[in-house]
C-alpha cells in the first residue's frame, strides 16, 4: 500500500508516493534516482549505504524511509555546493583515496560527520571512526591520509 512520504533530501523538501515498507536506501536509489548511496551488504555490516541524518552517520539499508520524515537527510550528492567540491571530496581525489569508488560516498559522509565532532583527530581516532566503512580496493592508507589532511586545515 503506497503512502505519501515527506522527505527533506539535500536541502530540498520532497513529497513522494512509495510503498510504506521500503528502506531509505531503496527510496533514495529507486524512487529519487540518487544512486550515489550504494547497496553493499544490505545488512549494516559494510557502511556503503551510509547517509547523514541531521548530520550524523546512518545506515540507510536498515532505516525505514517512513521513519525519517521531518529529518535532514544528506546524501553524497548533497555535499558539493554550487558545483564546488567539499574539501573531503577534493582531498580524496588528490590523495588517490578512490579506486573503484564504491565505498567512497559512505566513507566521505562518515568522515564529514566525524570531523564535525572531532575536528583534530589522531590517526587512531580516524581509523576507529571509519571502521564501519569497508574498502576492498585501497587498503585504507590513502583514505586515512585524505581525512587527516582535511582535519589539519580546519
Amino acid at each position: 500500500m503506497k503512502r505519501i512520504l515527506k522527505l527533506n533530501v539535500n536541502g530540498e523538501d520532497l513529497e513522494i508516493l512509495v510503498e510504506g515498507h521500503k528502506t531509505l536506501l531503496e527510496v533514495l536509489r529507486e524512487d529519487l534516482g540518487l544512486t550515489g548511496t550504494k547497496r553493499g551488504c544490505d545488512l549494516g555490516t559494510c557502511g556503503a549505504c551510509t547517509v547523514l541524518i541531521d548530520g550524523k552517520p546512518w545506515l540507510s539499508c536498515l532505516t525505514l524511509a517512513t521513519a525519517v520524515q521531518g529529518k535532514k537527510i544528506t546524501t553524497i550528492e548533497g555535499l558539493a555546493e554550487d558545483g564546488k567540491l567539499h574539501p573531503l571530496q577534493a582531498s580524496f581525489i588528490e590523495k588517490g583515496a578512490i579506486q573503484c569508488g564504491f565505498c567512497t560516498p559512505g566513507m566521505i559522509l562518515t568522515a564529514k560527520a566525524f570531523l564535525e565532532e572531532n575536528p583534530r583527530p589522531s590517526e587512531e581516532e580516524v581509523k576507529k571512526a571509519i571502521s564501519g566503512n569497508l574498502c576492498r580496493c585501497t587498503g585504507y592508507v590513502k583514505i586515512i591520509e585524505a581525512i587527516l589532511s582535511v582535519s589539519g586545515s580546519k
Partner: protein, 322 residues
C-alpha cells in the same frame, strides 16, 4: 533483500505503545534503532505484521543524575551514552561498552534499550532464507530441532550484547511499563537464558528506563572479536571491583557470548572476596573460570576456544584493575 510488508505505527506515548503491543503481542514488534530487527526481518526469521516506532515517542532519550541513582531513558543512543561527560567520568565501563557496539553508525542509530533487548544469535538462525533452506527450519525459527545439538525442545542461541554485561556489573535495574503498570527489577532478571524466548518481558511490556546506582569501584569492559569493529563478541567480559584496604569487598564478573543470556560467574566472585589482586589469585581464578562456562558452538568459534579466552580475558581484566 527486501523487507516484507507490515503495518507501521508511530504512537505518541508509551501508554499508547503498550496498548497497541498488547493487542497482538506475538506479531507486533518494537522498533528503535532497527539495526538488529531489520536484519532479522530481511532474513525472514521474524515476521512482524506491525512495527511500533518507539523513536516517535518524545522524552524517552535522557541521562539524569539523581543523588543515589543515574537514570537513562531506554531510547538514549549509544553515541549519546559514550559522549556524555557524566558517563565517561562516573560510569566508565558503560562508556567503554557503548563504544564497542558495531561501528560509528550503529552507535548513532542504536539505543540502550534496543541493545539490551537484542535477539539471541546462532549460526543456524541469523542467515538468509537461501542459506537456511538447506536444512529444516531450526527450533528458534519455528522448526522442531535445534541444529546446534541436533535435538528438539531446547534452543541454545547465544546472547552477544555488549551493554548488558557492563550494566549488570554496575548493579543496574530496569523500569518496564506494561498493561498492568510499571515495575522495576534487576537487569539480570530481564534474561531468561532460554534461547527461543530470551527476555522475561510479559505481554505488552516495554523497557522504559535503566537505573544505575552511584558506585565507587573500578570497572573494565573487554571485548574479544576477530576484527576491531562491527562484529558481535566472540566473548566479552565486564568486571567491577570494590576494594577495602586493597582487598576485594565486592566484585561482579559478567560474560557475554558464552551463554543464552549474560553470564555472571558467582563462583569467581566468591573466590575473589576478601583477597587482594595478587598474581596467585589471578592465576587461580583465570584457570577456574575456564571450567565454569559451557559455551555452545553457535558461531564459527569453538567452545574450547571460548573457554580458553574466558581465562585470558579475566586475567587481563584483573591485571588492569590491580
Amino acid at each position: 533483500m527486501r523487507l516484507p510488508k507490515f503495518e507501521y505505527v508511530e504512537p505518541k506515548s508509551l501508554r499508547e505503545a503498550v496498548k497497541i503491543l498488547s493487542a497482538h503481542p506475538s506479531e507486533t514488534f518494537l522498533l528503535a534503532g532497527g539495526t538488529d530487527l531489520l536484519v532479522n526481518m530481511k532474513y525472514g526469521v521474524v515476521k512482524p505484521t506491525t512495527l511500533i516506532n518507539l523513536k516517535s515517542i518524545p522524552k524517552l532519550n535522557y541521562i539524569l543524575e539523581e543523588k543515589e541513582t543515574l537514570r537513562i531513558g531506554a531510547l538514549t543512543s549509544l553515541h549519546d551514552l559514550y559522549t556524555s561527560p557524566l558517563i565517561q567520568k562516573k560510569f566508565l565501563i558503560l562508556s567503554q561498552a557503548a563504544r564497542e557496539v558495531g561501528a560509528y553508525a550503529h552507535q548513532v542509530m542504536g539505543t540502550i534499550g534496543g541493545n539490551l533487548c537484542q535477539g539471541n544469535r546462532c549460526r543456524f538462525y541469523n542467515q538468509s532464507p537461501f542459506w537456511r533452506s538447506v536444512r529444516p527450519p531450526c527450533l528458534k525459527a519455528g522448526g522442531e530441532i535445534c541444529h546446534v545439538i541436533k535435538k528438539p525442545k531446547e534452543c541454545h542461541s547465544t546472547y552477544c550484547g555488549d551493554i548488558a554485561p557492563a550494566l549488570i556489573a554496575l548493579g543496574a535495574k530496569v523500569k518496564v511499563i506494561g498493561p498492568q503498570g510499571e515495575r522495576i527489577f534487576p537487569l539480570k532478571r530481564l534474561y531468561t537464558h532460554n534461547g527461543k524466548k530470551p527476555l522475561s518481558l510479559r505481554k505488552g511490556e516495554i523497557l522504559k528506563e535503566v537505573l544505575l546506582p552511584q558506585s565507587s569501584g573500578k570497572s573494565i569492559y573487554l571485548k574479544w572479536r576477530w576484527r576491531g569493529s562491527i562484529e558481535f563478541p566472540i566473548i566479552s567480559l565486564a568486571l567491577y571491583v570494590e576494594k577495602e584496604d586493597n582487598r576485594i569487598g565486592l566484585s561482579r564478573v559478567v560474560f557475554s557470548g558464552v551463554g543464552e543470556g549474560p553470564l555472571e560467574i558467582s563462583e569467581i566472585e566468591k573466590r575473589l572476596l576478601g583477597n587482594t589482586l595478587e598474581d596467585s589469585i589471578i592465576d587461580s581464578v583465570s584457570e577456574q573460570v575456564t571450567k565454569l562456562i559451557s559455551p555452545m558452538r553457535t558461531s564459527i568459534y569453538s567452545p574450547a576456544y571460548k573457554r580458553k579466552m574466558a581465562g585470558i580475558l579475566l586475567r587481563e581484566g584483573l591485571d588492569k584493575l590491580k
